[in-house]
């Protein structure tokens, strides 16, 4: 079912990622002093990209038997089976929309960047263009190129505009992620040579008959791990809180909101889709790592004194739930995982917007003991933070609820014990969120200076309102997300189930 029809002779998906490359070039041509023009170009084009993703979303027909739509195919290095193939399905569409939302709100939140604004905006938009590229690529090689394009600008963004041990955080993050992509490269080469087809077209690679069981079991590991590093899987998660804290606000939003989803998206789309038998073999270790992520991440978040570190660890915890949904390897679990990627992306972007921009840029401290009573000063920030927090706890009526509900249902069917143990993370999450709300926004005003803080600006209001609205709408009417997701997850889950049955016979 699709709501609108788009002319099919337009390369919509190329436009989506190019809509953020074009402003990068325009900005590069502007003078460094033209900060206002630079901001306007950045914001306008990120809005255009959001509008384009929305159009594509509405025009996608999830009832059609054709899973991938808006296909574009251009030969690139056909001698080696490397082509420029774009297409979207119900899994990549919510991610595309998420990236549009986060880059647009991130652009609004970046309005107060004064230092080296030109380079900042160029890198920020380039980063988001790379993210779009990953979500629309159907060629594994192309996907990897976009993936690295999305990771590298991070180094400079954190290194130049960051705070709190920024150079260390930037280097650590980049090396971890590039270490992950080293694994992926190994996986790519193996995928290319182990199958009977010499191609990187994922639609062809996903025909599981191509790879023997041994190949799948061995090379699932580097492919999955490589992406799981970016998803923040235990024990490769330590870059994430350090990096998030060091990064400037909009970069934290993009990073925790979207970039980590590249990791879980890659785990699903690349590793699990191409190697279903390999995935089945490793489900239990993944589920255990995800369990540790969820519970341990939440517990560490509970003990943080730094507001931003708390959010950073909450991301680790929630990404654990995403991975757990993937490890369930059934329709409901994976649907929950994709939904969680979307819900967590929006809410964590909102968290970082509140923490980094609305609070820290005003108070210049993120330590809980020094904050307090800010509800009276910036009430809007408190309200949107509470909305995001409730979603994060899994409160019915908000996006997070549906995601977590599905994930736990899925896990219950696969490994009931892990589902029960992971349940511990829910009260802990509620605990640290409520504690943070209390310590930052309620209670007495610790610092009388805070009474004279400047109020929120229009871009902040708009960004906060958009993100909060998306959380509420997705909570009330989740079907606009779940139906396309479910339709596209079905073939992947079925392949996994078949592979599981095969594995049983093999034993």
């Amino acid at each position: 079912m699709n709501l609108i029809d788009l002319p099919m002779n337009v390369p919509w998906l190329s436009l989506v990622w190019l809509s953020l490359v074009i402003p990068t070039l325009i900005i590069a041509l502007l003078k460094p002093e033209q900060k206002r023009e630079i901001r306007i170009v950045g914001a306008v084009f990120s809005f255009i990209s959001l509008a384009l993703t929305l159009l594509v979303y509405l025009a996608y027909d999830y009832r059609s038997p054709q899973q991938f739509q808006f296909l574009e195919e251009v030969p690139w290095l056909p001698e080696l089976g490397i082509n420029y193939i774009l297409g979207v399905d119900g899994v990549s569409l919510p991610m595309l929309l998420l990236n549009g939302l986060v880059i647009f709100t991130g652009a609004l939140i970046s309005w107060n960047i004064e230092e080296r604004a030109r380079e900042y905006w160029a890198l920020l938009l380039l980063l988001a263009a790379g993210v779009y590229g990953v979500f629309v690529s159907l060629d594994l090689f192309l996907l990897f190129i976009f993936y690295e394009l999305a990771v590298l600008p991070m180094y400079l963004l954190i290194g130049i505009w960051g705070s709190t041990r920024k150079e260390y955080g930037a280097m650590k993050l980049t090396l971890y992620l590039m270490g992950g992509s080293a694994f992926i490269i190994l996986g790519l080469v193996a995928v290319y040579y182990s199958g009977t087809l010499r191609t990187f077209d994922m639609r062809l690679l996903a025909q599981s008959a191509l790879f023997s069981r041994d190949v799948q079991i061995i090379f699932f590991v580097p492919l999955f791990l490589g992406f799981a590093v970016l998803a923040g899987m235990f024990p490769f998660h330590t870059w994430s809180p350090t990096g998030h804290v060091a990064a400037p606000t909009a970069v934290s939003m993009l990073h925790a909101g979207v970039l980590m989803k590249l990791g879980s998206y890659g785990c699903l789309r690349v590793a699990m889709w191409i190697f279903p038998e390999g995935a089945n073999y490793w489900l239990l270790p993944i589920a255990i790592a995800a369990l540790i992520n969820a519970v341990y991440g939440a517990s560490i978040a509970m003990t943080q004194r730094d507001f931003k570190f708390m959010i950073g660890y909450s991301s680790v915890s929630h990404m654990g739930l995403t991975l757990m949904g993937l490890a369930a390897a059934n329709i409901i679990g994976i649907t929950g995982a994709v939904l969680q990627m979307f819900a967590h992306g929006v809410m964590t972007a909102l968290f970082f917007a509140v923490v980094g921009r609305m609070v820290y840029d005003r108070t210049h401290t993120r330590q809980f003991p020094e904050l307090g009573g800010l509800f009276n000063v910036i009430p809007f920030a408190a309200i949107v933070f509470i909305i995001a927090g409730l979603s994060s706890m899994g409160m019915p009526g908000l996006a997070g609820f549906w995601a977590e509900f599905n994930i736990f249902m899925g896990m219950w069917q696969r490994f009931p014990l892990i589902a029960v143990l992971a349940g511990i993370s829910i009260p802990i999450t509620a605990g640290y969120i409520l504690l943070a709300v209390y310590r930052v926004f309620f209670g007495e005003l610790k610092n009388p200076e805070f009474r004279r803080l400047p109020g929120l600006t229009t871009p902040e209001y708009v960004a906060g309102a958009i993100l909060a609205a998306v959380l509420i709408v997705s909570g009330i009417y989740p079907a606009y997300l779940t139906e396309p997701i479910e339709a596209s997850v079905r073939p992947i889950a079925e392949a996994l189930a078949r592979a599981g049955a095969l594995g049983m016979v093999g034993r």
């Binding site: 290095l77 694994f183 490269i185 190994l186």
Partner: protein
């Protein structure tokens, strides 16, 4: 087999290089020059201009002759007939045919190599002009050209004596160039060190050749023939098959040949000269030394091993000796480890890049391992990966050493600290250096990424999975030190904000290499087809 008059167009490029070298030298000697600084600068500029224009001309002739871009149509009776006839005659001497005198192959492989070396020499001459060296400019530029000539012959040689002479021609010119700054502290040291290592390696190479001769002679005698001295690669290859390929004499000869060339391509453990020489030599010479010279070494090594020792190819396994691929696999392993790990603590930018280029030699060796496969498709792919990597590496390294040359001239030093805050002082240079460094690091969508990916594929297909794993891990290690360049240029505060200007000629050279690195990354198919055809000739 005798020299035909029709062979002249086939070695036209080498003849042109020879003539150009003599012309540059002669014009410098025959002109009357004043002694003042002004006259010196003018003299240097004229020698440089003559070299650059001449090399550009040779490059264009080579490009036309190669038929890589277009084939000249038959004359049609129009006014352009003279040009068309000229073009056709030129292309008639293009790639193809059996080697001249059996010793000088004029195939696509040679053509690609020649174009690479001549292009690199052209860019180097531009960098040297920007560097404004004033002492004996005629000698400087003519040595550069003679060295290029030697490299072209190295890539074409299919005979031991010619290979040795070419190696010496290119090396001896470079020894002099490396020690060219007589007044500086490090340059004469670099020249001497390079010379000592080089001449020792030549001796080893020669010894390897003589053992190989001995092998052929004794094999021939066993077969009942008279002992002959075989100097063609292919003749050695004819005898070195089956059981004879495991003869200790041949294996020893092969090991000495690899060791002798190992210095030219600076693989561990024959690399120790490289950091000192790269740091000490005049910056434009370093740019040339680290790229074209290394590429020539690799191409000669490739042709030599695959034609003279195809019977002793073995398998690239690390745990047992089975042929030259296992030797190369071990060399690749230590080169990757030492080159990349030793680069980590460096503080001097040129020394850092010297170690990084040792690391790159390790990646390049991976591509050669695929020769152990018997499938022609695989062999072609491995060769193509090698050539592609060499071209891309040449461009990126030449460009980044070019940037360092500009900075050395402007700032008087090339420590990483000196580059701090470069974005404030010269944005264009910073951007270009960033692109070049990221290409060296293998970040997509730049050409360096494809190059690394291709050699990983070659290594994997050759069955050297543990080695490829090490190589992949080493790319992450290398990223750490490449990021230090970015950190210095973009993040750390500048010691001064006074702008740095780039000499226009040097800028042109750096822009060309940067644009090509980016372009070949976005559209690798631009040269992949040509390279594949060159590779299929070489891989047969």
């Amino acid at each position: 087999m005798s020299f035909q008059i029709t062979d002249i167009p086939r070695i036209l490029l080498e003849l042109m290089l020879l003539l150009l070298g003599l012309l540059v030298l002669g014009s410098d000697i025959l002109t009357r020059w004043g002694r003042g600084a002004q006259a010196q600068a003018e003299r240097a500029r004229e020698a440089g201009q003559l070299t650059a224009v001449g090399l550009g001309l040779v490059f264009i002739v080579g490009l036309v002759q190669s038929r890589f871009l277009f084939t000249v149509p038959d004359p049609t009776g129009g006014p352009l007939d003279i040009l068309l006839t000229l073009g056709r005659n030129l292309q008639a001497g293009g790639p193809g045919g059996s080697p001249v005198l059996g010793a000088f192959a004029t195939d696509e492989f040679t053509m690609v190599a020649r174009l690479t070396f001549i292009g690199a020499a052209l860019l180097t001459s531009l960098l040297a002009m920007g560097y404004r060296l004033t002492a004996n400019p005629g000698e400087f530029y003519s040595l550069l050209i003679f060295s290029t000539l030697g490299m072209s012959i190295m890539a074409a040689a299919t005979e031991f004596i010619l290979a040795y002479l070419a190696l010496e021609l290119s090396s001896i010119s470079l020894y002099v160039l490396a020690g060219y700054f007589r007044e500086s502290e490090r340059s004469p040291e670099a020249g001497l060190k390079y010379f000592l290592f080089g001449s020792l390696s030549s001796a080893i190479f020669l010894y390897g050749i003589s053992l190989t001769y001995g092998f052929v002679a004794s094999e021939n005698q066993k077969a009942g023939g008279t002992p002959i001295i075989a100097t063609l690669f292919s003749e050695v290859g004819r005898f070195a098959t089956g059981d004879a390929a495991r003869s200790p004499l041949l294996i020893l000869g092969m090991l000495f040949v690899i060791a002798g060339l190992g210095y030219k391509i600076s693989v561990v453990p024959f690399h120790t000269w490289a950091p000192d020489v790269y740091q000490g030599a005049p910056p434009p010479v370093t740019a040339f030394l680290s790229t074209a010279s290394k590429a020539a070494g690799f191409l000669l090594l490739y042709r030599l091993l695959t034609t003279a020792f195809p019977g002793a190819v073995g398998a690239p396994r690390l745990e047992e000796f089975s042929g030259w691929t296992s030797v190369l696999a071990i060399l690749a392993l230590v080169t990757l480890l030492v080159g990349n790990l030793a680069a980590l603590p460096q503080t001097n930018a040129r020394r850092l890049l010297a170690y990084s280029s040792i690391g790159h030699a390790g990646f390049l060796l991976l591509a050669m391992l695929l020769w152990s496969s018997t499938s022609p498709v695989d062999r072609t792919f491995g060769t193509a990966a090698l050539i592609y990597y060499l071209i891309v590496y040449t461009l990126a390294n030449l460009g980044s050493f070019g940037v360092l040359a500009v900075l050395t001239k402007a700032l008087g030093g090339d420590d990483l600290n000196a580059m701090q805050g470069l974005w404030q002082r010269n944005m264009l240079l910073t951007l270009m250096m960033t692109i070049l460094i990221l290409s060296l690091a293998g970040i997509p969508p730049l050409a360096g990424f494809w190059a690394k990916f291709f050699v990983f594929m070659a290594g994997y297909q050759a069955g050297a999975v543990p080695l490829v794993t090490v190589a992949v891990v080493m790319t992450v290690v290398s990223l750490y030190y490449y990021l230090r360049f970015l950190k210095a240029m973009w993040i750390l505060p500048a010691p001064s904000t006074s702008p740095i200007s780039t000499p226009p000629v040097a800028n042109a050279a750096i822009i060309v290499s940067t644009v090509l690195v980016a372009l070949l990354g976005l559209l690798p198919n631009l040269i992949w087809g040509t390279i594949s055809s060159a590779a299929s000739v070489a891989a047969r």
